[in-house]
């Protein structure tokens, strides 16, 4: 079903190294119109490098990123990157101006209401809590009417409750607007709850280990669901393979 959707972004045989360290090698993945695509991988597997090269912040050494020039991209960074001398609303206007959207005050209003920040439009970032800043970072990405939003582990440093609420917010926006999302995470449960398509990146320079499709309605998903649970086990099996076996005799640990 999903395969018929249009590809809007494609990584083809991407390779990227830093000095001696090959971070990405033979990386192939597709992002489809209207989907939530998740890039799942443990720390150090090159997820952020995928994000940075797709965003044009870094160049690939080899391979290609294929996308239309007209494709409008937006970004949600791991740590909020807000201009501290601008208020919450001015931060949205700052990026909107680049696309002549600064007059869209209704859109801003909607996003502030949705994120529960409507009373903080005129607050400076230092006056907001960590969770509120991350919400602002999120709605900024949706304020530019992007075709594709990249999210680099946006929920990583948040508490359970904020994570849950933001996940709900992202799901709702995606469902209603049909916007395509490219979501990077190290958390298999998060990927299973959010994604239509999961790419598992395993270990540096190893390429995509597995592509997984999740067809179940997002609003009905629970991690205890047998179908999702089985996929979780599959993911964990891939991840476990990556962990080096302990190279000590367990008896020696008694010395500790």
């Amino acid at each position: 079903m999903t395969e018929k959707k249009a590809k809007i972004l494609e990584f083809e045989n991407a390779k990227k190294s830093y000095d001696q360290l090959t971070v990405l090698k033979n990386l192939n993945l597709n992002v489809y119109q209207g989907e939530i695509t998740c890039l799942l991988g443990p720390s150090g597997s090159g997820k952020t490098t995928v994000f940075r090269t797709a965003a044009g912040m870094e160049e690939l050494d080899e391979g290609e990123i294929i996308k239309k020039d007209s494709l409008r991209l937006a970004y949600v960074f791991q740590e909020p990157r807000l201009l501290p001398w601008k208020t919450a609303e001015e931060n949205l206007i700052f990026v909107q101006k680049n696309y002549n959207l600064e007059k869209e005050s209704k859109l801003r209003e909607l996003l502030f209401n949705l994120s529960g920040l409507s009373n903080f439009k005129n607050s400076y970032p230092h006056e907001l809590s960590g969770g509120m800043k991350q919400r602002l970072e999120l709605i900024r990405a949706f304020a530019v009417k992007a075709d594709l939003v990249f999210l680099d582990e946006p929920l990583k440093s948040l508490d359970m409750k904020t994570k849950y609420n933001l996940r709900k917010m992202i799901t709702l926006i995606q469902k209603e607007s049909g916007i395509s999302l490219f979501f990077i995470t190290h958390d298999p449960e998060e990927a299973l709850l959010l994604a239509d398509r999961i790419y598992i990146l395993a270990g540096e320079g190893s390429g995509i280990k597995k592509e997984m499709l999740i067809k179940k309605d997002r609003s009905q998903r629970k991690i205890s669901d047998p179908e999702l649970y089985q996929k979780l086990e599959e993911i964990m099996a891939i991840f476990t393979d990556l962990v080096a076996e302990f190279e000590v005799d367990q008896k020696d640990l008694k010395e500790l």
Binding site: M57, P84, W85, H126
Partner: protein, 250 residues
């Protein structure tokens, strides 16, 4: 101006004045004039018109040299940030200028320009305060959060807007702080230069009072110098600092 800072200071000031008065009571006024004698000298300087004319001369020299120092310091900081080769070539030179004691510069200035009316003090003020502007601003530029620039670029923000809306506001607090520190240097160097190598201005009046053993006048001029510096630092610059960093977390 934060009154809360000034309240405890008033108390310290009163105690200092009392100690001064007490010490002066037991000493010859040539060594330490009393508060009253110093204020009388101040009054005389004021009514004779010397206060106004000398003050304006020193202020004019300070402002000319300070403005030149600000422009040069800002341009050098931007150039050295932009061109690494330029930085490697000239950064040590600024350190050398800064490390040279002001007394060497004034000695050289007197040799080069003589006891000139304006040139000697202007040269000294410039050479002492320019590195201060440069060092503070350059540090601010080097510490700039490039993540914000990266974010703006990812959102296709035009270069000019990045300069205007990210670089400029980010650097403004560092610039104001540089302006503030450099002004104190400029004002002091101005008086120092006039003391040694000029025939007008507050520094020259200090040198005259010194050679005539008019210690009360020496104190009177010092009071004027301090009052002006306090006005600039706690009134003008403090207001400016609060304005440019209103978005900061205190």
């Amino acid at each position: 101006m934060k009154n809360s800072i000034f309240k405890p200071f008033y108390l310290v000031l009163i105690i200092l004045i009392l100690i001064w008065e007490q010490a002066a009571a037991g000493l010859n006024s040539l060594i330490l004039p009393s508060v009253g004698e110093s204020l009388r000298a101040l009054h005389q300087i004021a009514v004779s018109g010397v206060l106004y004319s000398s003050f304006m001369i020193t202020l004019r020299r300070t402002l000319i040299a300070y403005s030149l120092a600000v422009i040069t310091g800002v341009v050098l900081a931007l150039l050295m940030h932009r061109f690494k080769y330029f930085k490697r070539s000239f950064r040590p030179l600024i350190t050398m200028i800064q490390a040279t004691p002001p007394v060497v510069w004034i000695a050289l200035a007197v040799i080069w320009f003589g006891v000139a009316e304006d040139l000697t003090p202007i040269f000294l003020i410039f050479i002492v305060s320019m590195p201060v502007i440069f060092v503070n601003l350059f540090q601010g530029i080097e510490d700039l959060n490039t993540e914000l620039v990266e974010m703006a670029e990812a959102y296709s923000t035009p270069r000019l807007r990045i300069i205007k809306e990210i670089y400029f506001p980010a650097l403004l607090p560092a610039l104001v702080s540089a302006l503030s520190i450099a002004f104190a240097f400029a004002w002091k160097s101005s008086v120092f230069a006039e003391f040694i190598g000029s025939s007008s201005g507050i520094g020259y009046q200090l040198s005259r009072a010194n050679s005539m053993l008019a210690t009360d006048s020496l104190f009177a001029w010092t009071i004027i110098l301090l009052l002006f510096m306090i006005f600039v630092e706690y009134y003008l610059l403090e207001k400016l600092k609060a304005r440019v960093s209103r978005w900061k977390n205190d």
